[in-house]
Symmetry: C2
Subunit: 269 residues, 2 copies
C-alpha cells in the first residue's frame, strides 16, 4: 500500500486507527483454545469485527515467535486474513549490520508480505538502508517511544543541544522519503509532537501508547496531525482484549468504533 | 551455562572463539541443497568440525527467519546439535516495551533454550529488564557495534561529555550483574576497548567484526582482556564459508583452528 492509498483510506473512513494484534495466548477469551490455532481463530474474528473502524493492523511479532513454529504459522495466517484495504505492520523492531538487516527485510517484506516493519535505529544508517532498499514498502523507525525507559537514552541531551531522539528523527529522515518511511512516537509524549513535527513535517507517525498505556488521542491529534493526517494511532490491548468472554469480537468492534468516532470528530475540527 | 563454566571452558581450550552461524542459503557450498534442510546439514557439519576450537556458537536469527517456518525448524535443529560444553547465543537484537520483551525472552530462553540473547538498548531499562529476569541466562546488550553506522548515534557526544555508547554501557551495567550480562563491542573499535574496560571491567564482551569485517584479534585481546579473559570473539563468514566446495567443513575447522592457535599465543603472553 502506498502513502497516497493509505491517506485515501483514512479520508474514506475518517479513521486513522491501527489495531495491534498483540495476541497473548494467556489472555485469549473463554472458549478459545490457548494455542496457536486459538490465536488464528481469535485474530480472524477480531479482524472481521474491527476492519470497518480501522485502516491498519500491527502484528507484534514477539507474541507469535514465543509460540515457536506454530506461532510463525499463526502470524502467516493472520496476515493473510487482513483485507488488502488495510495497511499491515510487522512490529518487529529489527536492526543489525547490513547483510543481516537485508535478511530481516526479506523476511517481513517478501516471505511475510507486510507493508511495513518497525526498525530500531541504534546501529545507524547501514542497519536501516537494507529496509529502505524496498522503496514500495515502509520502514518505521523508532523515534521516541511510549515507555518509561525512553528516558534512559532517547531523552538524553546531546552535546549539540538536541535530544537523542531528535537527532534520530533528523538523521533518519534524510535517508529516505516520507513515501517509504514513518516514525514511532509514543502517545504518552503528546506535548513533544509540536517540536517533532518541525523536524518531520511530512512523515506519517505511528503512535502507540493510546489506551492501556494511557496516552490521550485528542492531544496526539492536536499536536501531531499534518496536512495528510499523518498519524496512525495504534491501540492493542484496549481493543482486542476489551472482553474476555465470548462477546470478545463484538466488544472489540465497539472499542474500535469508539476510537473511530472520536477520530471523526477530531478530523472535522 | 554460567559465567564460571564459560571461563572454565575457555581456560581448558585456551580459546575464546565463538563461531557465528550466519548461514546464508545463497552461500551454501556445492552439494548442499539451498534450502532449510541444507542449512541443518551444513550447520551440523560445521559444528562437528569446529567444536574443538571454539567455546560458543552464535546463531544469527535473521538468516533463519528469512526462510520462514522451515528456517525456524533449522534454527531449532541447529541449536539442538550444539554440545552442552558450548555457550549458545541467539543474535536476535530484540528489545521492546516490557510485556513484549518478556515474550522475546520466553522465545529465546525457553522455547529455544539458548544461553544468551543479544538486545538493543534504544528503548531503555524496562525493555531490557524482562531479559534480566532470567538470572540463569545472559543478556548481551549492544554497546559499540562494528559497522560504519555506529557513528550516527552510538558515537555521538552527549551533553555530559560521554559518548552515547559509554552512557549505554554505564547505565545498563547498573541494571544487572556480570554473571548475567555481557556487552557487544565491535573488533573494529579496538582502540576504544581501554576506556570501555574502565566502565565495564568485569563483564564479558562479545566481539564481532574479526575476519570479514577487518578487526584485529591481537588488538582486541590486548586492550579488551580482563582477569577472567572476558572476551568472546566471534567469527562468522571467515570460518563457516572458508570454502564453498565439499571440503567446507575441513576448511572451517582449519580457519577456526587458526583463530584458536592465535588465541592460545595471546593468552600465554
Amino acid at each position: 500500500m502506498t502513502k497516497s492509498e493509505l491517506v485515501e483510506q483514512i479520508k474514506l473512513k475518517q479513521s486513522y486507527l491501527c489495531v495491534g494484534l498483540d495476541t497473548d495466548i494467556e489472555k485469549l477469551p473463554a472458549g478459545i483454545p490457548k494455542n496457536a490455532k486459538g490465536v488464528i481463530q481469535f485474530n480472524k474474528a477480531i479482524i472481521d469485527a474491527t476492519a470497518p473502524y480501522c485502516v491498519g493492523y500491527k502484528i507484534n511479532t514477539a507474541f507469535y515467535e514465543s509460540q515457536g513454529i506454530q506461532g510463525w504459522e499463526a502470524m502467516e495466517a493472520s496476515l493473510a486474513h487482513i483485507p488488502s484495504t488495510h495497511f499491515t505492520i510487522a512490529d518487529a523492531k529489527r536492526g543489525d549490520i547490513g547483510n543481516t538487516s537485508a535478511q530481516y527485510a526479506k523476511t517481513f517484506f517478501e516471505i511475510l508480505p507486510f507493508d511495513a516493519i518497525t526498525v530500531a535505529p541504534y546501529m545507524g544508517r547501514d542497519s536501516v538502508d537494507p529496509f529502505l532498499a524496498y522503496s514500495n514498502k515502509f520502514t518505521i523507525v523508532l523515534g521516541l517511544t511510549s515507555n518509561e525507559g525512553s528516558q534512559n537514552f532517547q531523552q538524553q541531551k546531546l552535546a549539540n543541544g538536541q535530544f537523542l531522539y531528535e537527532s534520530v528523527l533528523e538523521q533518519v529522515a534524510s535517508w529516505g522519503t516520507p513515501e517509504q518511511m514513518m516514525f514511532v512516537v509514543g502517545a504518552t509524549k503528546a506535548n513533544d509532537f509540536e517540536s517533532i513535527r518541525k523536524i518531520i513535517p511530512h512523515h506519517f507517525i505511528l503512535v502507540p501508547g493510546v489506551g492501556a498505556q494511557g496516552g490521550s488521542l485528542a492531544d496526539v491529534t492536536h499536536f501531531g496531525m499534518n496536512a495528510s493526517v499523518g498519524l496512525l494511532v495504534n491501540a492493542s490491548r484496549a481493543v482486542i482484549f476489551a472482553s474476555n468472554q465470548n462477546d470478545f469480537a463484538e466488544k472489540a468492534a465497539a472499542a474500535a468504533s469508539e476510537y473511530a468516532k472520536e477520530m471523526k470528530v477530531l478530523l472535522s475540527a
